[in-house]
């Protein structure tokens, strides 16, 4: 999701708005027709509502829907603003004090990896009734996807521009005002565009945790009541809103910016770092994370029955009399989730990358597929979790498919963009030898695609954890997602906190693992990305 881009691939849409718009419209019509037919065929199974039925439902209940939508949009907007301001602020600190960057991104990643399914209920207890948890989760969902592009953007200027400013005797502030801020603008927009639907998703998940009003509340009610039309209606509205916000920010960006916005690839690498800095940063991150966790419990004087500190979690996992049982329960749940998560994750990655490659061999289709895929990438997949489960059932396949879908879209879009990043000069050289499309794909495009692919693979780790935990919580009733929901409702806070810690740590570890593979591969194929 980092490699956002407001889209080089949308370029044809900008240039030949009239003709290029036909493709996506046709695609959309085809999807709608297929959906309608499938619904008619499956009419007795009570799983699929046809577009006509969804439309009918929405028209009949428009007041309910608009009220709920208003609430959720309000929460999402508040979280969007807070989260992005936090991101800008953090990026500012990293810029002023470069040594802090590793720690800032590390802590930010750890917070980003917190499982919303569990932080939701915890925040609910902390905030009590009201929009607090929704707004917080929306803010959590967006700040990381803005922070990373911004960090890259603030440095995305050739050295000579900085030399120019220095040659007139000016320092960092002039550099920031005249060079960095402008150079970062496209990256900021790229981040904001991804952030907008993410904020909506965050707000909805926040509402799952016992809010009074909003789309999330209605979704829970629809699932419990097995109201197929309402479930589909809500998912449709959530999807439409997300796609519209995404497109709106894209349009705004295209008005403000001169060039096509950038494709954001590798993670930012602070300059002048030594090898051991990485390890020092990891230790600092752990230290600060544990410190602020314990510190805030002490500072806000939270109820010890509910608020467990690092010491409590350690006791529960290792020292308490039932420590072995606790470890067993959590370990079992993690295993159950991993069985769904890992195949889904890889299936999503592989199909995304393969389909993108296949499409570049048939360039005619890309024009149609690209805008559609970009729009679908902004779909809050998790809110459609109930649908997938309705369709495929509560078994393993449903969960795996959902994780795969969650991973598929960002990977697919990133890879398509990456494949198009192939340097034009090199492609010209290949053309001059009349090399076929397959040779170009293998020798130029795939290496050019790798950074985008890995950026997507990294961001897909927390995303797939989110998908698997939400499905387990809302539908299947197994795995770590369900365990966290269950322990929250049973007030078994030892297990809840321990699960949160383990899930966050494992997500961050998975992210780091993909990052390590990424550095290995890029060192061979795209060393400039690591410079």
């Amino acid at each position: 999701m980092t490699q956002t881009a407001l889209d080089t691939a949308m370029a044809p849409t900008i240039n030949r708005r009239g003709r290029a718009a036909v493709g996506p419209v046709l695609g959309l019509l085809a999807v709608l027709a297929g959906w309608e037919i499938a619904a008619r065929v499956l009419t007795d199974a009570f799983v699929l509502a046809a577009p006509s039925e969804v439309l009918h439902y929405l028209v009949a209940n428009w007041q309910l829907m608009t009220r709920a939508l208003g609430v959720t949009l309000g929460n999402a907007a508040a979280g969007f603003v807070i989260g992005n301001l936090a991101a800008i602020w953090l990026a500012g600190i990293a810029l002023v004090w470069p040594r802090s960057e590793g720690v800032i991104t590390g802590l930010a990643l750890l917070v980003f990896c917190l499982p919303l399914v569990a932080t939701g209920p915890i925040l609910r207890v902390l905030f009590g009734p009201g929009p607090g948890p929704q707004i917080t989760l929306a803010a959590f969902a967006v700040y990381y996807t803005t922070l990373i592009p911004l960090l890259i953007g603030l440095r995305a200027a050739p050295e000579s521009w900085f030399d120019l400013v220095r040659s007139y005797g000016r320092g960092r502030i002039s550099t920031l005002v005249h060079v960095r801020s402008m150079a970062a603008l496209p990256y900021l927009f790229a981040g904001l565009q991804i952030a907008a639907p993410a904020a909506f998703l965050g707000a909805m998940v926040g509402e799952f945790t016992g809010a009074e009003r909003g789309m999330g509340v209605l979704t829970i009610r629809a699932i419990r009541a097995l109201d197929v039309e309402m479930t589909w209606g809500l998912a449709t509205v959530a999807t439409a809103v997300s796609v519209l916000v995404y497109l709106a920010i894209g349009t705004l960006a295209r008005r403000v910016l001169l060039d096509d916005p950038p494709v954001i690839l590798a993670t930012p690498a602070p300059t002048g770092r030594r090898y051991q800095d990485g390890w020092i940063d990891i230790c600092l991150v752990l230290f600060l994370a544990l410190g602020s966790w314990a510190g805030s419990i002490w500072l806000f004087d939270l109820n010890p029955f509910f608020a467990k500190g690092p010491q409590d979690v350690f006791d529960a996992l290792f020292l308490a009399t039932d420590a072995a049982a606790t470890r067993g329960t959590i370990g079992m749940a993690l295993m159950e989730s991993a069985i769904f998560l890992i195949p889904g994750y890889f299936a999503g990655l592989v199909t995304g990358a393969l389909l993108a490659m296949l499409l570049t061999l048939v360039p005619a289709i890309v024009g149609t597929a690209m805008p559609l895929a970009i729009a679908l990438r902004s779909v809050p997949i998790v809110t459609t979790a109930p649908l997938v489960v309705l369709l495929i059932g509560r078994g393993a396949l449903g969960t795996i498919v959902l994780v795969a879908i969650m991973v598929f879209f960002p990977t697919f879009v990133a890879c398509l963009q990456g494949l198009r990043q192939a340097p034009a000069q090199v492609m010209s050289v290949f053309d001059s030898y009349a090399a076929g499309p397959l040779t170009c794909l293998l020798r130029v495009r795939i290496p050019a695609m790798l950074p985008a692919f890995f950026a997507a693979a990294r961001m897909a780790v927390p995303a797939s954890v989110l998908a698997v935990t939400v499905v387990e919580w809302l539908a299947t009733g197994s795995g770590i997602g369900s365990l966290m929901a269950l322990s929250a409702s049973l007030s078994d806070y030892d297990v809840l906190w321990a699960s949160v810690v383990l899930v966050a740590a494992l997500s961050a570890f998975g992210y780091g693992l993909v990052g390590a593979v990424e550095r290995r591969v890029l060192a061979i194929y795209a060393p400039e990305q690591l410079a």
Binding site: W161, L164, G169
Partner: protein
């Protein structure tokens, strides 16, 4: 044109050398004085350390050893008073600003003012009439370089550092520019240091040509160009110019040969 805000300085390099972090030695210890108000050309093979030397003079690169003094002060002081301008090898135009916008930014950074008519004159001098409000992306490589030269001149610097300013410009435009531009810095009496790959340009434009050896840069020859000004193209065909050009060529090839021998001996 308007008043010169800083008098042309003398530039002194004492025992100046540079070794990069990776161990690449770019510049051998060099002692060199650039006279106030003179134009000095630096010629030398590609990769020998010319840009590095120029950047050290501007204080953009810190020397590994030795000092640079501009009018007796460290480069930073001169930069702070906007006393120097550099035209970089890569034009370094900000893509979101037009040609005029880039020039205005330089004026703003240098805390200087200029009449719009003066900027128009400069833009026209470098042959960019009609492109004042065009963004760099829509200019050719040579046009961008010319915009960067106009920007460097706009702030009336006492010290002008030009790193291959005509590198991507066609031969005819190049001749035109090398007739027109020196008039400006001669009229202003600017101290100019010009890096160029063209030997004839070096001879025609400057008061002195310094020939550098292959990396690490060392002074192979220091040739005074005692030709009358203004220099015309006809003068370029005089026997004296030909003799000077030959001398520069000879020094260059000697530097190359020594370099090869040095490498062979290693």
């Amino acid at each position: 044109m308007a008043r010169d805000l800083t008098p042309p300085p003398e530039v002194l390099c004492a025992d100046l050398s540079k070794t990069f972090a990776g161990g690449t030695r770019a510049v051998q210890p060099i002692d060199l004085t650039f006279q106030a108000g003179q134009t000095t050309a630096l010629v030398g093979p590609s990769g020998c350390g010319k840009s590095t030397l120029l950047r050290m003079v501007a204080g953009l690169e810190s020397p590994s050893a030795g000092t640079v003094r501009i009018a007796g002060a460290p480069p930073l002081a001169t930069r702070r008073q906007a006393g120097l301008s550099m035209a970089f090898q890569d034009p370094a135009l900000l893509p979101w600003r037009s040609v005029r916008g880039n020039i205005n930014l330089a004026l703003k950074l240098a805390r200087r003012r200029a009449e719009p008519s003066e900027i128009d004159q400069l833009i026209s001098l470098v042959g960019l009439d009609g492109f004042a409000d065009t963004r760099p992306a829509e200019l050719s490589g040579g046009m961008r370089q010319r915009a960067a030269i106009a920007r460097a001149l706009a702030t009336h610097p006492g010290l002008l550092l030009l790193d291959e300013p005509f590198g991507a410009v066609d031969e005819l435009t190049r001749q035109q520019l090398s007739q027109d531009l020196p008039r400006i810095w001669e009229a202003r009496g600017t101290t100019t240091i010009l890096v160029t790959h063209s030997v004839s340009e070096a001879v025609l434009l400057s008061d002195r040509v310094i020939v550098l050896s292959p990396r690490p840069a060392e002074i192979v020859d220091d040739i005074a160009i005692d030709l009358p000004r203004p220099r015309t193209r006809d003068a370029a065909r005089s026997d004296h110019v030909i003799a000077l050009t030959d001398r520069v060529f000879a020094a260059l090839s000697k530097g190359m040969a020594d370099g090869a021998a040095f490498l062979a001996a290693q």
